[in-house]
């Protein structure tokens, strides 16, 4: 036990480097996924067939072929055609494309479930389609989609653990190095799983805060400052943040 702790302390600089790679992949991958999800989700939900059909095809394509296939395609196949990307870019691209396609379904579904009356009201106020989406529909859809996006982000975080197969030295890669000098159980179950679990919890808390903020801006629920203040105004404030695990 003591030897394990000592070995972990010695390996810490490497583990921290690995954690940093994992965090970068998660944050950049999620950012790319979100941008793609909004574009593809709006396309797939559009009235025009010329937008909706390509949107659907792209979503189904990236959802239907597995993450690892996409990762390998970008890593092994593209270089044969002269597209040689750095490992980090490969990882972010594959994660962003794959989870972006899943998230696009969430975006499309959330926009579709904004109440009919809201859409009709924007017509009555003769808002332009862009104005309508930006000021009325999307803010409401955003509050609806955050819990699902949060669970997809946790999925993406867990998906990053595969990137050592494209030679990236992420947290899982350094866990494997740690395993060589400590017990398997210690390296994977204690340091590894607990490390990822903490990352996932932090991610979930951040997304809960985002959801509370989005709801507050729609006039539903308390503001973030009220929730985070040491003397909460009412006890059920915290529960409005929802469960996103």
């Amino acid at each position: 036990m003591l030897e394990n702790i000592q070995a972990t302390v010695e390996a810490w600089p490497f583990l921290a480097q690995g954690l940093w790679v994992t965090i970068q992949l998660t944050v950049l991958g999620s950012a790319l996924a979100l941008v793609l999800a909004i574009i593809l989700g709006l396309m797939a939900g559009a009235q025009h067939k010329a937008l909706a059909v390509p949107g659907r095809i792209i979503i189904e394509f990236f959802r239907g072929t597995s993450l690892v296939v996409q990762l390998f395609f970008i890593f092994f196949v593209l270089p044969q055609f002269g597209v040689d990307l750095p490992g980090m870019v490969v990882g972010v691209l594959a994660l962003g494309l794959n989870y972006g396609a899943y998230a696009a379904e969430v975006v499309r579904g959330s926009i579709a479930s904004v109440p009919r009356g809201q859409w009709e009201a924007t017509t009555a106020l003769s808002m332009s389609p862009v104005h309508r989406m930006r000021r009325v529909i999307f803010p409401q859809a955003w509050a609806l989609m955050i819990p699902s996006l949060a669970s997809l982000m946790v999925h993406l975080l867990k998906g990053t653990a595969i990137v050592s197969v494209i030679l990236l030295q992420d947290f899982t890669f350094h866990l494997d190095q740690l395993r060589r000098v400590t017990d398997t159980t210690w390296a994977y179950a204690v340091v590894g799983l607990v490390g990822y679990f903490v990352l996932a919890l932090v991610l979930t808390l951040v997304m809960n805060a985002l959801e509370a903020r989005a709801k507050h801006r729609l006039g539903r629920g308390p503001s973030l400052r009220e929730i985070l203040s040491p003397t909460p105004t009412s006890k059920d404030n915290l529960s409005t943040a929802g469960s996103a695990i």
Binding site: V69, F76, V77, G192, Y196
Partner: protein, 220 residues
């Protein structure tokens, strides 16, 4: 060297077909089917324990389920592989996939059990049914029907996660494609083939599940 510039080589494609298909049939499908069976059964066990077991047990199960669900299956596979050296990688893969996905499925069952109308519970009390009979004859049959599409969706996502098995050296479809590519210095055909098989197998299934979902929503 001239071959390198070709975008697509049909001969290579047909040569890649046997090893990739073998990986698909003997590993990918097998792990998906057995993993789903384990996950569906264990998921129900977790859901029932969380609901029915006395406090310390149900709390522990709840945390265990959350912990497994929120940590990467890749690390779980590596852990189980090195911790249980007496089992072969394939068995480890099936069991780990089963346990990992059981934590998702327990959520599905929980939602299904919660969705059984209150009147049904009251009726079992009115008929003075035993707890066992209430669950076996009234609650579970109704809860299960509503959960079938969600379970199907998780089976599909398990199917698409099976390439993770390559971290413990199992030669499933994508690993087979990669090995073939490495041996021939050409990856396009083999990896594209693996992608096509995933798409061909998962898309129709997901359409089928969506149709089932609609029919269930209509029946309610």
């Amino acid at each position: 060297m001239q071959e390198q510039t070709e975008i697509w080589d049909w001969e290579m494609f047909f040569r890649a077909l046997p090893p990739v298909l073998e990986g698909f049939l003997t590993v990918t499908l097998l792990v998906t089917v057995l993993g789903t069976v384990i996950a569906a059964a264990l998921g129900l066990v977790w859901a029932m324990l969380i609901r029915l077991a006395p406090q310390p047990v149900s709390g522990i199960v709840k945390w265990f389920v959350a912990f497994i669900r929120m940590t990467p299956i890749v690390v779980q596979l590596l852990f189980a592989y090195y911790a249980f050296l007496m089992f072969d990688a394939m068995t480890i893969g099936i069991v780990v996939f089963g346990i990992h996905y059981s934590t998702y499925m327990s959520e599905v069952y929980r939602a299904g059990i919660d969705a059984v109308p209150k009147g049904q519970w009251e009726a079992t009390t009115a008929l003075s049914m035993s707890t066992r009979r209430t669950w076996a004859a009234v609650v579970i049959p109704q809860a299960l029907r509503a959960t079938v599409p969600a379970l199907g969706n998780y089976a599909i996502s398990m199917f698409k996660d099976t390439p993770f098995l390559l971290v413990i050296g199992v030669v499933e479809m994508v690993n087979a494609a990669q090995i073939f590519g490495g041996n021939n210095f050409r990856y396009v055909e083999a990896i594209t083939l693996a992608g096509i098989i995933f798409l061909l197998a998962s898309y129709p299934t997901s359409v089928l599940i969506r149709r089932m979902e609609k029919r269930l929503a209509y029946a309610n």
